[in-house]
Point group: C2
Chain length 345, copies 2
């Protein structure tokens, strides 16, 4: 089996982990779980010398310092510097255009957590072999709750062991449908992890989104190299329609496959999910930094300096970061991005 | 009616409002409600030129800077500097020894809040006239909840209008008894506010605690003046037994009277009672300093700088002070003094 090229997507700047994540220091580059950042952990998962070639990181100007610092001097690594954000179809197309046609790409978000790296490696190997055969493969994250914040993938007919044709991709459901998906068992979460050959991806893009494909090729052809960095042509890149790989390609191709993956995945999409991704004490509490918790359950504390003392609370997150203090219920964590501090950072 | 001398007691160093109150900056000297500190508000309540003579403040060395700064150059004010803490019987005896025998003393804690100052003035005037007649008068704070943290006063026979002989003083009750006291109606809280003539206080002290009375007289006689300050003799003062005025005198005298007082009193004995002493918004929230409260009820925020954002909480107090952050339920506020930060400050 051929080795894969990890294509690590470092775009966006979420506000859901504010005040710890800031515009200037977004989520992938923070050591949120253990000593590694999510970006570093993503690279580490994809650096097994047996299965992976050096990575391509796709990012924007504003994240370059973080990428350079955390990528280090990894031999053979490339960085594609997007002149502006144009969503994932464009980002992946840029990488595809830089690779030999038959190379298998493993597209990875840089800000997710995967607890079971061995399970990830097994799923990645299965996805790679399907990709070599021409499939466009999505990882199907085993659903463990009726989440309304994720898209779902409905599996169809089996394709050998541990893989299925995709019956369809499903948009974020309401709670009732999410419950149905969970009990049905044939649905899994779409975690934004994909594997396909570079040529197959571009073929499907040309079929379903010819304008995006053409503009992307132009931006790649007219781009310039600068050491390990590649700068797509700004004018051509700006002309690319902003669309996700899901909409542009995965939902349209006849050759979509899904590889189910139970690997302790989390998108760390809120303070609550960050808390839940941690090993916690017997009361469900976890603290980063100086903290004293009295009569607390399921309390998560993250402080960059001041001591945090908490008494009597259940299911609450407390974050201290510089001149901002956040105290929220687990449910309330969904609203963090709408706080004044998060919006005006 | 003769004018009263306010005797303002500034001892102790509680930990119940940690981390805002610290050993070096205790509760009486903080602007906890409005712009005035509790000490300043106490002085202001007792400075009506019709009813009060200049105050005597009884305090310790460690609080002198705060007392001097907040007392200002109030004409005629005196400060008794206790060489060490010896509880309220000694503190009041020091003041009594410095006054003309027939002077009526109004003994006031310096760290309580009284919302209705007009009601206070009326009760003080009633207490003063009884004190002139030789009674030892306690203010009986109208009980509004089955508090287990206060002593209670059971009223006996009426003494004219708005006053009663004390049937007995009652120690802090358990919850069942506190509920009984509340429904009975004949009990009020002992708020540590007293009025009596200096000579009557010393007579009763000599009768019931002759050793304390003798040691106090000696400490006063051998003390030295230094401007408006009076320093009791340290050795003599050290020999005074540490006892409260309640135990030493009020519970023993046959001439104890109680003047019921409904005056919006609070001992500000916890973050919860400080919250409750404030005028709050329609959701019961109140914030000092930069704060954003979303989906909150009965939340109290006090921050000395950082912005505090709170989502979804009910009945919670958040305090930011320097390098300490406290988050507690209203019930949990009772345990603040036992936190590492409060204990080791």
């Amino acid at each position: 089996m051929a080795k894969m090229v990890p294509v690590v997507l470092c775009g966006g700047s979420g506000t859901r982990l504010w005040p710890r994540s800031r515009k200037s220091f977004p989520k992938p580059f923070l050591p949120l779980i253990g000593d590694s950042t999510l970006f570093e952990a993503t690279l580490a998962r994809c650096s097994d010398s047996d299965g992976f070639l050096p990575p391509i990181v796709v990012t924007g100007e504003s994240h370059l310092d973080h990428v350079d610092a955390q990528l280090g001097d990894r031999p053979g690594a490339q960085v594609i510097v997007e002149p502006m954000a144009r969503n994932t179809a464009a980002a992946i197309a840029m990488a595809a255009c830089r690779l030999d046609p038959e190379t298998v790409m493993l597209v990875c978000p840089s800000d997710h957590h995967i607890a079971d790296t061995a399970a990830f490696a097994r799923s990645a190997a299965r996805a790679a072999s399907l990709a070599e055969e021409g499939w466009l493969v999505a990882f199907g994250i085993t659903a463990t709750a009726p989440e309304t914040g994720f898209g779902y993938i409905k599996r169809g007919e089996p394709i050998g062991e541990g893989a299925y044709a995709v019956e369809r991709f499903v948009e974020k459901p309401d709670l009732e449908r999410a419950r149905h998906f969970l009990s049905d068992g044939g649905y899994s979460w779409n975690g934004g992890l994909f594997a396909f050959r570079a040529d197959r991806f571009m073929e499907e893009l040309e079929t379903h989104r010819p304008a995006i494909a053409a503009a992307a090729r132009k931006a790649a052809d007219m781009g310039r190299e600068e050491g390990r960095r590649f700068h797509p042509d700004a004018e051509a890149f700006a002309a690319i329609e902003s669309e996700s790989v899901d909409y542009a390609v995965m939902e349209n191709t006849d050759r979509a496959a899904v590889v189910p993956a139970s690997m302790g995945w989390s998108d760390i999409g809120s303070w609550t999910s960050l808390r839940d991704a941690h090993v916690r004490d017997q009361d469900g509490n976890k603290a980063h930094g100086r903290a004293e918790l009295v009569d607390c359950k399921n309390v998560y504390v993250d402080t960059d300096g001041p001591r945090v003392s908490v008494i009597g609370l259940d299911d609450v997150v407390v974050v201290v970061n510089g001149d901002e203090v956040l105290v929220t219920t687990a449910n309330g964590a969904q609203k963090v991005g709408k706080l004044e501090g998060a919006a005006k950072q």
